[in-house]
Symmetry: C2
Subunit: 109 residues, 2 copies
């Protein structure tokens, strides 16, 4: 069993996107067989890319205020919001608040 | 895309365990293909069973104070604790605080 505060895992730049970091808190290095848990932090005024990919996201917002953009428009998200992004669905997470937007995001391995 | 506050999903009794509820916030009903997201709430003084099963758990603690029991003893957990329970590992979550112990727990589908 692994038991560790998420802050023990280093925050790495997320694919060179400015103002966005990712912590791989559970993944292949832990011998996770099916899916990986990552914690994202987006600084105020920053966003992830508006993009799509084959794999799904399962997201729970932990802190902050922001939006999720999809092809039909934007929705507000905040603490306790659950977002399920299907494979190949366009999506973008943006911080619209004055503090960090933090969320946990899981993907298949 | 599904975007919804976790509290919109009903809290169901968890396998008849007193003081423990579960919300299936992302799962088969949402056409999730690989893994399911559940939010557990344990009332003060209550615990999940000390048990094991073939599938893994990926857990992030959201609120409250508690412990995780494994075969080697107990560890304290609280807001921000990440717990990876391997398949077939014995485990038990207990609320040791005075408010609800809330955590997100993902399992393979």
């Amino acid at each position: 069993m692994k038991i560790e505060h998420y802050s023990r895992t280093p925050a790495e730049p997320a694919d060179g996107v400015p103002g966005v970091t990712v912590r791989w808190v559970i993944g292949k290095k832990d011998n996770a067989p099916n899916f990986a848990m990552r914690i994202f932090e987006i600084e105020p005024g920053h966003s992830t890319p508006y993009h799509q990919h084959e794999w799904e996201h399962e997201v729970l917002v932990l802190d902050g205020e922001g939006t999720v953009r999809q092809k039909d428009g934007e929705s507000r998200i905040g603490n306790g919001s659950v977002i399920f992004v299907h494979g190949m669905e366009m999506h973008q997470f943006s911080n619209r608040g004055e503090s960090v937007l933090r969320f946990v995001c899981l993907i298949p391995i």
